[in-house]
């Protein structure tokens, strides 16, 4: 396993299908914190739970004006069916062609299996990675790390407990 891009690195830009007929680029979201949640595959049980959890926590992410993007190597039609089945209210990006190119640029691709790692990135308003985390592939990382990072990124955000800033760097 390689290293995922660490805090302080510039987040590589991309332009990917977000629906079968729409593209989304990281640049489109400049000015807002962006959460990128790389996961191995639609439909596998752990990913389902992870995306389902984030779906429930969306309103908290939005208190920090943050945009959540799920991303895997599945195609746009697969994502569409998955999002519909799970009632997901955030975009899923198809890192499909060339396969896993964006995951590779973030250091979050598993060559052997041909899927992305279960990796989280919080990107700041200027497109710089503020926090990143790679979870063991079978473990749903939850949302606590993301919310902690958003809180430190934006001390004026939803919550007021921003005293833990110093000892959280990955």
């Amino acid at each position: 396993m390689g290293q995922i891009l660490p805090a302080g690195a510039t987040a590589p830009d991309f332009e990917l299908h977000v629906t079968p007929d729409q593209m989304l680029s990281l640049n489109d979201l400049k000015g807002k914190p962006v959460i990128m949640a790389f996961y191995p595959a639609d439909w596998s049980p752990v990913c389902g739970d992870q995306m389902g959890l984030y779906n429930e926590v969306l309103s908290e992410f939005r208190k920090y004006d943050a945009e959540l993007l799920g991303i895997s190597v599945d195609g746009a039609w697969c994502h569409e069916a998955f999002a519909k089945d799970r009632h997901l209210h955030f975009p899923l990006l198809a890192d499909f062609e060339p396969k896993g190119a964006v995951a590779k640029s973030y250091g979050a691709y598993r060559e052997g299996e041909g899927v992305s790692e279960r990796a989280l990135f919080v990107i700041d308003q200027n497109g710089v990675i503020f926090w990143s985390y790679r979870s063991p592939i079978a473990v749903n990382p939850g949302a606590d790390g993301i919310l902690d990072a958003l809180e430190r990124l934006q001390p004026h955000g939803a919550s007021h407990e921003h005293t833990t800033a110093a000892h959280h760097t990955v």
Partner: protein
């Protein structure tokens, strides 16, 4: 390692002595089949450890996949306002296949809560903030699915089977000696 952020407070539903040696906290969803499956295992653990254990339950409804989870959680809170939380809690899990408004009304009636009171509380969302507060505390503690257990504040990453929970609890009991 994820740890429980909100400590047990008087706002929690706790069974067993508050000063027990081990505190087991569950984040659960009344419509989650895994939580219903875990329910008898938790009861076994409570029986096994008796007064050495206290058990607290917090709500973690996954509303996008479980349409009745939120109302069920609020029902339990209505019962809690009558000091009957645990009866409602057990009734919801033990009848999960019937989950829905008729079951809510029936369980409430059995506890002496009128149809009118229950419907009004659910419609007004009287207890929605309490349920949300449980949920958010869980999110900040690293709850990553349901059920998630914490034993003396540390997330239990083993299964909910009686023997796994009991073994983990034993570890904490021995750690104290």
């Amino acid at each position: 390692m994820s740890t429980l952020r909100p400590p047990i407070t008087p706002y929690d539903h706790v069974r067993g002595p508050a000063d027990a040696e081990v505190a087991l906290v569950e984040y659960g969803d009344y419509q989650c089949p895994h939580c219903a499956a875990a329910h008898p295992h938790v009861k076994l653990v409570e029986r096994q450890f008796g007064r050495r254990l206290c058990f607290a339950f917090r709500h973690f409804p996954l509303n996008q996949v479980h349409p009745y989870a939120e109302s069920a959680a609020e029902c339990a809170e209505v019962a809690a306002a009558h000091s009957r939380f645990w009866e409602m809690h057990d009734g919801l899990y033990e009848n999960q296949e019937l989950l829905g408004p008729p079951l809510f009304l029936e369980l409430a009636r059995n506890l002496g809560i009128s149809d009118l009171e229950l419907s009004q509380a659910l419609t007004a969302g009287t207890f929605a903030p309490k349920v949300r507060s449980d949920f958010l505390g869980g999110v900040r503690s690293g709850v990553n699915g349901t059920p998630t257990f914490f034993i003396n504040g540390r997330r239990h990453d083993g299964t909910y089977l009686h023997q796994d929970l009991a073994a983990a609890i034993e570890t904490h009991l021995h750690a104290k000696v």
